[in-house]
């Protein structure tokens, strides 16, 4: 009984890992993208605000790719073969931003502003290539003009979404001028994100008849249309909040970040609904791609025990560093 459910369980777990990654590494990639090159003090503060978290945030990507590798090796092979070059470019981006972050902080040399530029370029590269890969993934890896245009759209959408949640993070973690800067960037990118999401929602069913069928037949259609409705509502609240940042006594400064996280969750839910139970849209289902039951079971026990622990200490770490970021000082 459980053996039949295992592929679905791992598909769900992969979804959770991707969502955690998008929210958590999303905000620190976003921070990297909007790093102001003309203001050292702001840069220091922004870097300080993500310092304790970015390592662990990036680990969710390893888990997501890890689950793809462990549970659906056939899919892992296809995805990474088809996305070979974009994946390499994303990895180079992630490498550059990760090391730039540490080099700039550990040794304050005359190269610091260079490392900051590398950090920004790496963040932008990683965000764009992730969005680009998402576009190619949902269109079945067809390299045609239409799919490339669509993928460019998803690339912009992903980068905008990361800036959106990154700006929201600044609203939550900083004060004064920098907080207003974060709010401004979040608001601008919020519009860009909304526009590209609407475009994606229009183009996607046109490209994928299977998606169109899911979206426009009852009763599922009712649920599906709740998602954009709720997204729009939350987006509107956040947009209005960002307009007036900071509120008196900085009330409810968590609103934009939590709102952004909800929007990400809703979008991923909609995405999952469109393609379930395929692990590669239109090509391979979770059941077909799954590895041996004995292997999935062995990992499953580990996940049941360890994942709650991971979530617990992740929460603990965010509690330790709650409140406004103090100035950049190590140890």
């Amino acid at each position: 009984m459980m053996a039949d459910l295992l592929p679905t369980i791992f598909l769900l777990l992969m979804g959770v890992a991707v969502l955690m990654y998008a929210i958590l590494d999303g905000f620190d990639l976003g921070i990297g993208i909007i790093l102001p090159q003309n203001n050292l003090q702001h840069r220091n503060q922004m870097i300080a605000s993500i310092g304790p978290f970015w390592d662990a945030n990036e680990t969710w990507l390893v888990l997501a790719v890890g689950i793809l590798l462990i549970a659906f090796p056939a899919a892992h092979n296809i995805v990474l073969r088809e996305l070979y070059l974009p994946a390499v470019i994303m990895l180079i981006g992630l490498i550059l931003r990760g090391v730039a972050f540490d080099f700039r902080a550990k040794a304050v040399t005359r190269y610091q502003s260079t490392w900051d530029k590398v950090f920004q370029a790496g963040s932008l590269t990683a965000a764009l290539s992730q969005g680009f890969m998402l576009g190619l993934y949902v269109t079945g890896f067809q390299y045609s003009v239409l799919t490339i245009v669509f993928s460019l759209l998803t690339a912009i959408g992903a980068a905008a979404a990361y800036v959106y949640i990154g700006g929201a993070w600044l609203v939550l973690k900083t004060e004064g001028e920098l907080q207003r800067y974060g709010a401004k960037k979040a608001r601008q990118s919020g519009w860009l994100m909304a526009l590209s999401f609407i475009a994606i929602c229009i183009v996607n069913p046109l490209l994928n008849p299977q998606v169109a069928e899911r979206w426009f037949t009852l009763p599922g259609a009712l649920v599906v249309f709740l998602i954009p409705l709720m997204c729009g509502l939350i987006w509107l609240i956040v947009d209005q909040y960002l307009r007036y940042v900071p509120l008196q006594e900085d009330r409810a400064c968590w609103v934009p970040f939590v709102g952004a996280a909800f929007i990400f969750t809703l979008c991923l839910t909609g995405f999952a609904y469109s393609y379930y139970p395929d692990v590669i849209p239109g090509q391979l289902s979770a059941d077909e791609a799954a590895s041996a039951t004995a292997s999935l079971q062995f990992v499953f026990y580990g996940v049941v025990i360890v994942l709650p622990v991971i979530l617990a200490y992740t929460l603990l770490s965010y509690r330790i560093f709650k409140g406004k970021t103090t100035e950049l000082n190590y140890y």
């Binding site: 978290f53 888990l63 070979y84 080099f103 580990g302 140890y331």
Partner: protein
């Protein structure tokens, strides 16, 4: 599926070798350095002496930098299987997957999360919790080594599975994890990490002293580095020998290549140097000690060792293994001599002469060279198989056009070269900068308040320093102005 292109295969192999060689440099340091940091933190709890905290602060920065490069180059590794070696997951994914999964679940998150607390939490956390974070990071790095070496050892000496329709299925997880070569390889690697970190700590500290650092912290760190190296190296030689015997039992062709033995014979000499010639299937320019290889490997001076000719077409390329092994052993011997002499000197005279400091400075990254050489021996020694007897390397390769692999390989090579340069440069830069930091700026306030309780420790530590330093130290207690003055000389 298309035929695997020869160039794709070669380029993929070079790319994997480049990626994993670059990656392993950093975990090799952090696995052991995390334990050193924990030890330093515990010493600080016991004595309350601020010097331990200064040592900690300096080395935790280097740890963080090293860890970061390790993390990002490790992410690349998790993509490599799919991008370049799809056959690996197709055939043995049922076994490799869960082992990698457990590494991510039990180690990666723990390391990364508590690293945040360890680096940034010192003011926000109670001291015991901060030390606990350091411990959890250390446990995490070692657990990570546990799982990845379980997988690597399984690829060398696979067991606990059955083949169904050409795909490996697990039958006994305990047998898979604790496969015959695993305990030896794990110990060998952990000790290699200990030695690499020891020589790094000793080398950087020696460099600081050579650059005129009069403070106590680099001297404390120098002692830690030298003593731990002196303790670990004989254990490593012993474990390495056991590991070799285990290899002889399970992968005799690898040992034959390491020793350069072509024909099966008794009373095999130990080749100190030779140029193996795979075309002629013989060695040139042999410098040998009679019967010693037989004695080491079989504990009998006339013991029989199987030669490479028994495994024609099934044995690895000989030259890289033969040379790699000698590089590793040679550096091991250097480590033995240098760490014992340095430790002896430190025990007798409490300080090192300049030539010894310079030697240690030169040996800062010796652990890297030995570790890489050792890994080349064991990994090339597994060829032509990816998983011994189950899957050949050629069968696992991707069908991607070679041009794509060429592009990615070039990009990685450029990025890694820049990073390696920046990393080494930054380490020595940090060391030079720390020379100029006034001791007074890092002096812990509470230290003065609780001075009676730690008076003993003060004396023991002062004893361990040369006279000039003792004078510089005593001026710490004087007014700040005179402190700045006395340090002015050091800065210039």
């Amino acid at each position: 599926m298309d035929m695997v292109n020869e160039s794709t295969l070669i380029l993929s192999r070079i790319q994997f070798a480049l990626n994993i060689s670059f990656h392993i440099l950093f975990p090799t340091i952090t696995i052991a350095l995390a334990w050193f940091l924990f030890y330093i933190k515990v010493r600080h709890h016991i004595s309350g002496h601020p010097v331990w905290m200064r040592v900690y602060r300096f080395w935790v920065k280097i740890f963080a930098l090293t860890f970061a490069v390790g993390v990002v180059s490790g992410i690349t590794m998790s993509f490599q299987f799919g991008t370049n070696w799809p056959g690996f997951m197709e055939k043995v994914g049922n076994i490799a997957g869960p082992l990698l999964g457990y590494e991510v679940l039990t180690a990666f998150f723990m390391e990364a999360t508590f690293l945040g607390a360890m680096l940034f939490g010192i003011k926000r956390l109670p001291p015991w919790f901060h030390t606990l974070s350091t411990l959890l990071v250390a446990v995490g790095t070692s657990l990570s080594a546990f799982w990845i070496l379980a997988l690597n050892s399984w690829m060398q000496t696979p067991q606990g599975f059955e083949m169904i329709d050409g795909v490996a299925h697990p039958t006994d997880w305990w047998a898979i994890i604790f496969n015959p070569s695993f305990p030896y390889r794990l110990m060998h690697m952990l000790l290699a990490s200990g030695l690499t970190a020891s020589f790094l700590v000793a080398g950087i500290s020696a460099y600081r002293i050579l650059k005129g650092d009069e403070k106590r912290a680099p001297r404390v760190a120098l002692r830690i580095g030298c003593f731990s190296a002196a303790i670990l190296i004989p254990i490593q030689i012993f474990v390495g020998d056991l590991h070799g015997l285990n290899t002889l039992k399970h992968q005799p062709q690898k040992v034959a290549a390491m020793e350069g033995v072509w024909e099966t014979e008794r009373g095999v000499p130990l080749l100190l140097f030779a140029i193996p010639d795979q075309e002629e299937r013989t060695n040139h320019w042999e410098v040998a000690v009679p019967n010693l290889a037989s004695l080491i490997l079989t504990h009998d001076k006339d013991g029989e060792i199987k030669g490479l000719n028994e495994f024609k077409g099934e044995h690895p390329p000989v030259a890289p293994i033969f040379y790699g092994f000698r590089v590793m052993v040679g550096i091991g011997m250097l480590m033995l001599v240098s760490s014992w002499i340095a430790s002896f000197w430190l025990i007798r005279k409490n300080a090192l002469p300049n030539w010894a400091l310079k030697t240690l400075h030169w040996m800062t990254f010796s652990g890297w060279v030995a570790t890489l050489a050792g890994w080349y021996v064991t990994e090339i020694g597994r060829q032509p198989y990816l998983v011994s007897g189950v899957l050949t390397t050629a069968d696992a390769a991707t069908t991607i056009p070679p041009a794509n692999v060429g592009i990615s390989l070039t990009l990685y090579a450029i990025v890694y070269a820049v990073l390696l340069y920046a990393y080494i440069h930054t380490l020595f830069y940090m060391a030079r900068k720390s020379v100029q930091v006034d001791e007074i700026t890092t002096l812990n306030e509470s230290w003065h308040k609780r001075s009676p309780a730690v008076q003993d420790d003060e004396t023991t530590l002062t004893k361990a320093m040369p006279t000039e330093t003792r004078q510089a130290e005593s001026s710490n207690t004087a007014a700040t102005s005179s402190q700045t003055e006395s340090n002015g000389g050091i800065v210039s």
